[in-house]
Amino acid sequence: MRDVPPNPSTSLADRNLAASSSSRRRQLLVALAATALAACVPLGVSDVYAMNVMILTLMYLALSQSWNVLGGYCGQISLGHAIYFGIGAYATVIVYLKGGISPWIGMVVGGVFASWIALALGYFCFRLAGHYYTIATIVIAEAALLLVLNWEWAGAALGLQLPFGPDSWATLQFGRNKLPYFYFVLALSLLTWLIAWWIEGARWGYWWRAVKDDAEAAASLGVSIFDSKMAASAISAFFTAVAGGFYALFVSYIDPQSVFGFQISLLITLPAVLGGIGTLWGPAVGAVLLIPLGELTRSYIGGSGSGTHLIVYGALIVVISLLRPEGLVSLFRSSKPARGAQA
């Protein structure tokens, strides 16, 4: 951040902070309780498939919450987050395979690298408005896909596979046991939620909402739009890449299409959009509904070869978008308007 904004906004922020601090504490307690509850679920469920579905759900929850930091709070609708996801996945595997370095470090390396890329891209792209920005993000992710697809050293189209080894926490490789993945990704979801929670309360969050609600008014208050978007972008990219690294370890095989493809960008965005963008609970509600639905429809009606599950999935997106433009999270809300969700 470049400088401290002048008094009017600071005092406004402080007043809001004080007014909502009790509600914020309640939110935090709910999140911690939900996490604790979720942590107990594997005690009762041992089915591998159910575990897989839950792990994926939590992974997309974390991803969508990371996306929410930029897309929801800052209003930059990116449909190209696969680039950060892919960078995280490739960095983690490459650092491990080619350098023999622990994938735990690899995930952080991927995160930092993705943040740099996000800053570099943000420098050029944040001057684009609305649909121009969205389309640029799609194109940039597609360009990254093409580059990796032609990068022989990184396996090109063959992709990279983690060697088949014994179960180990050091490499986060487990054959049949899904519990470690579950707890890792649960912790990651909580972490991304806490970041969003912290942003909502912190001054940054007020600035970003100001940027989103009315850029001109915010600028006149002295908020540096550009810097705040850059910060949002770096944080968002970091956690997206960490989740990408997790995905690589979880599946143990990556290729350009499966980590840089448009379908990843879409699955990162959809939970937040349908759950409620720019809200704390939107990504969670969206992911919990959408990911199991996608998995179950594919598993139990997808094998027929008809397009039924595409129809179900697409129709659901249309219906939710039309009936609940502010997201499903609004169903749980009594009278309070969706804060900062105005476009």
């Binding site: 591998v48 189209a157 979880f250 095989y253 290729d255 299409q257 499966s258 199991p292 179950l296 594919r298």
Partner: protein, 418 residues
């Protein structure tokens, strides 16, 4: 919320498990042998899955019901050594996504308790499914995924009855040698034309190596983006190099556009040898019609083998009744994969993974017991069947016929094309 989600998942899956697990009323006490089958059933590769399903259902029918066909397990009903148990196929959709392939493989193994896995067409998915099989110690039979990277990983439970891309490419270069000798002055230069996927990459690597070894000059090396809206620059590049032979590796969509574009740009190559793929698909043949004439493809299966493999006609008739199509290289390999797997399960007299693995490893099936032009089915330590000699077939008069090796040929080779 997390609670509700979990409830949804577990209750839904519990309902499905109980539905799938309860034997149908009135059946004998012998339990079905379940085999997990993983293919793409949605997305751009969906047709492959749909066709595979026809082939595998045909094979299951031949195993489960009595048929007068000279194939293993065809005569009796079910698996005789397991009290006549029936083979039941449990299908899953991987959408060409390795993560989904992994998840579905694990579901089939843990929820449906399948005895073995079969699939997957896409080699990227096969790479992941073969790992799951290894973890759970049950066999995975790769019916047609042909990446050479699959069998070199030291996996115990991986089996591939069909050839891999390297064997195919070697056969293609043997064929080129044959052409050079028989038609002097042709086949000195080749151009590689391949898509930017695993299929294209694997193939082109081997082809470049073989070309160097055999001193065949590679005049153009063209990797193109799959499903491109236009291939005119690519074809123009080929045309400007005027190679003797184009070695093409493409799926159906690009194969259609490639042949059409060559025609539109007035380019008549002297020879096209394709790495199977899209060039043998009915959709391709009907799209380009007579312009497919003269195209050569490597194959591990040709329909005109019927004279040498009497069971083939009967199988093809059964398959055609279901699908409305003739068997092709993919569907024939899928069909055979299930027969070979079921034969091993029958000999193992058990549905335990390690027992089936041992039985598969002991497999020694003469070529005459298959519908393929293979010498035999016998797996090496790496799980690869090495007793295969791919053949070359050429399109003409509305069908592909074997043209090489000459001992198997049913039509003389037409060469060069222009």
């Amino acid at each position: 919320m997390l609670n509700r989600r979990d409830l949804l998942v577990s209750s839904a899956s519990a309902a499905l498990i109980s539905a799938a697990g309860s034997p149908a009323f009135g059946q004998s006490s012998v339990e079905d042998v379940k085999i997990g089958v993983i293919y793409p059933f949605t997305g751009s590769g969906a047709q492959v899955g749909v066709d595979a399903r026809f082939a595998l259902d045909t094979a299951a029918d031949i195993i489960n019901e009595a048929h007068d066909i000279d194939l293993p397990l065809a005569k009796g009903k079910g698996l005789s050594n397991l009290g006549g148990a029936k083979v039941r196929l449990v299908y899953a959709d991987h959408q060409a996504d390795p993560q989904k392939g992994r998840s579905e493989a694990e579901r089939l193994v843990t929820q449906d308790s399948v005895a073995a896995l079969l699939g997957t067409y896409y080699s990227s998915v096969a790479a992941v499914v073969s790992q799951v099989a290894e973890r759970y110690q049950l066999p995975f039979v790769a019916a047609e995924s042909s990446s050479p990277s699959l069998h070199v990983k030291g996996l115990k439970y991986f089996f591939r009855p069909g050839p891999h891309d390297e064997m195919y490419s070697i056969a293609m270069f043997d064929f080129i040698k044959h052409v050079q000798q028989k038609f002097p002055g042709t086949g000195a230069t080749v151009a590689l034309f391949y898509e930017d996927t695993l299929f294209g990459n694997d193939t082109s690597k081997v082809q470049k190596r073989l070309a160097e070894e055999q001193k065949v000059e590679v005049v153009a090396d063209i990797k193109y983006r799959a499903n491109s809206p236009s291939l005119s620059s690519e074809v123009q590049l080929l045309k400007s190099k005027n190679p003797d032979i184009i070695l093409a590796t493409s799926y159906t969509t690009d194969a259609i556009l490639f042949v059409r574009t060559m025609r539109e740009l007035g380019f008549k190559p002297k020879g096209i040898i394709s790495q199977n793929g899209g060039f043998i698909e009915p959709a391709f043949l009907s799209a380009v019609g007579e312009h497919a004439n003269g195209i050569i493809s490597r194959a591990s299966f040709v329909l005109d083998l019927a004279t040498k493999r009497p069971s083939l006609k009967a199988v093809n008739d059964l398959f055609k009744k279901r699908s409305g199509k003739d068997l092709n290289d993919n569907t024939a390999r899928e069909f055979m994969a299930l027969i070979i797997l079921a034969d091993a399960i029958n000999r193992a007299k058990s549905i335990k993974g390690p027992d089936i693995e041992a039985a598969l490893r002991a497999t020694d099936m003469p070529g005459a017991s298959t519908i393929m032009p293979w010498d035999r089915v016998k797996f090496g330590a790496d799980g690869q069947n090495s007793s295969i000699k791919p053949v070359m077939m050429q399109y003409g008069d509305g069908e592909y016929r074997t043209v090489w090796p000459e001992a198997l040929a049913t039509r003389p080779l037409k060469w060069p094309l222009t």
